[in-house]
Symmetry: C2
Subunit: 347 residues, 2 copies
């Protein structure tokens, strides 16, 4: 078990599990983990915990040899370190709250991304000891201009920090549908990052993600997390990973007019990529605590039935829940094997 929950306090089966509930199909999860490890074994993969926010899941990755992690928030780093998973953790994001990480630096190797004088000053004065220079490679988000990378590295080294290298996230290319086009554009983005690396030094070139895991051949380490659970968005790409995460609801109402209603809605889902999908019919619409479904065979559904929905976007869906329920089958009578707390949420 992964926290204070004991086996006897687990719901026996999915039918006994309170809904809405996030369900992880363990055989699929493990297959995704193994498939990625063929391309990016051991510490060459730096799993991104923002996609799953669970130290139990991070522990499973560490047990498989992936002992370095990256994160999007200080709280994720704090949680990893508190769980004994701080061998090599990277805040792959800018923060002014670096003192939170400096305070726990005796217990872990913590590296922070910086892209400006202000975020570098925050790292220095916050007691952070290692940084990566974050370089903008085409995504309109964080990252310094490639021509400013060496200057920031010099400032960091002058202040006594270890500059371990560079990072640059080609997030704008994750969903380029055509593989050849994606590969070309990833190469162009990584040329920018390698130019920065040449001027910065260090051993690390960190970047990439699930969508570019097999087209990005220039990073020394890949930042990927979504591949483990997947979602409808990533599933539209030609990736060898399969969806292992579903949202389970209970049918609470059946209308003679042909729709059924489950107790899983907007508050259990990330909706930025639209409605979830359902294998047995159409999703009509989602409300705060409901989803109305249009079954292909309305007569087959009864109040009390369990229903699995496939979320559009994994990261913001996970962040709404307190735990994953781990199974090896999605039938209502399948046994619940474990509970993995989603303990790295919030900020």
């Amino acid at each position: 078990m992964t926290d204070t929950t004991t086996a006897s306090s687990l719901p026996a089966t999915l039918r006994q599990t309170p809904t809405p509930a996030l369900v992880v199909h363990l055989p699929t999860f493990d297959r995704n983990m193994a498939t990625m490890a063929e391309s990016w074994p051991g510490p060459s993969l730096r799993p991104h915990v923002k996609a799953f926010k669970s130290t139990a899941m991070a522990r499973r990755l560490a047990d498989a040899g992936h002992t370095s992690f990256c994160a999007a928030t200080p709280r994720e780093i704090e949680g990893l370190v508190a769980a004994g998973l701080g061998d090599d953790v990277l805040l792959a994001n800018e923060t002014l709250d670096a003192a939170r990480l400096g305070r726990i630096s005796d217990h872990a190797q913590i590296t922070v991304a910086v892209d400006s004088d202000v975020t570098l000053d925050a790292a220095i004065h916050g007691g952070v000891r290692s940084v990566l220079i974050d370089v903008e490679v085409g995504l309109p988000r964080c990252g310094c201009d490639v021509d400013d990378a060496a200057r920031l590295a010099d400032l960091a080294r002058a202040a006594g920090l270890d500059v371990r290298g560079v990072m640059g996230y080609e997030g704008h290319l994750m969903m380029v549908m055509d593989r050849a086009d994606r590969a070309r554009r990833v190469e162009a983005a990584m040329e920018i990052l390698l130019t920065a690396h040449a001027s910065v030094g260090g051993t690390i070139v960190s970047g990439g993600g699930t969508g570019t895991f097999d087209t990005n051949r220039w990073c020394t380490e890949l930042q990927a997390g979504s591949y483990l659970l997947m979602d409808n968005q990533y599933d539209t790409l030609d990736l060898p990973f399969e969806k292992s995460l579903s949202l389970m609801g209970t049918v609470i109402s059946v209308s003679a007019k042909g729709w059924i209603v489950v107790d899983a809605g907007l508050k259990a889902l990330g909706m930025d990529h639209g409605n979830p999908t359902w294998d047995h019919g159409d999703v009509f619409f989602c409300s705060d605590e409901h989803t109305t479904l249009l079954p292909r065979e309305p007569g087959e559904w009864s109040v009390g039935d369990r229903v699995h929905l496939w979320p559009g976007h994994v990261d913001p869906t996970v962040a709404r829940h307190e735990q994953f329920w781990v199974v090896d089958g999605l039938d209502a009578d399948d046994v619940v094997l474990d509970r993995w707390p989603i303990d790295l949420r919030h900020w």
Copy 2:
């Protein structure tokens, strides 16, 4: 103070508040509360806690005379009862998990909506003592057929339950933009509910919401919650309520190319009604933990600045956060007056 937080442990000002953070502008909040109370005073309003999920906020409503509440989940009911706010609480939703409510029925007056034999059986066997018959009035969601209401009421009374009346939610009419059209259609929906009431009996006709607060004149009590905090969606209607809830982020990166990045993204927002808005420029796009903004005056923004975004949909936004920070001004140097825990989340 509303929980174990003491005044001295509050951040002094918004500049010291960790971000992303939900901020409630108290003067606007109180004005919204007073405006609604003019139309629906005291217990004629049954505030819907699903919109704000905070017993501290519910306490403020109770202090203003609104001592009955409605909720969408068993956990919301449990939390209200535990906080001493269980004088008259309604689960305005179907549940098979009624035993959770039966267990706390000695300490509160708990009423549960039922719309089928199965959910009624769950209430009976779960030890629930009072029900409303939930009637479908046009929204394709929960609610029995109007012609089935009397039968369910008879079954409930035969089992010894108190049938307090009916409820029916005209949620499909909340966003009808034309007032006259909205009023006509609300009247037609409420005719269905009054027909059901005539056959069911009891003293309660419960329905309505923020969008129909002044067009629904047939309910004995209004179920409204969004009016307190409001959002961009409700703000498009001709309502006398103003937005009192903003999402505050910190600028963590400024690009010479004209965009700035704040540390508040998809995981801090309900996105089913699209991007948030910003008073000082355009929202370019939201990522998991970032929003990229295009300021009208890019040169005016620096790393460390605080930014307020206006969420599209209040309910699923609130459900992502641990607390509201209460202020009477939105400048970074404005004092934080209180912390209201969002303690009714999850299921």
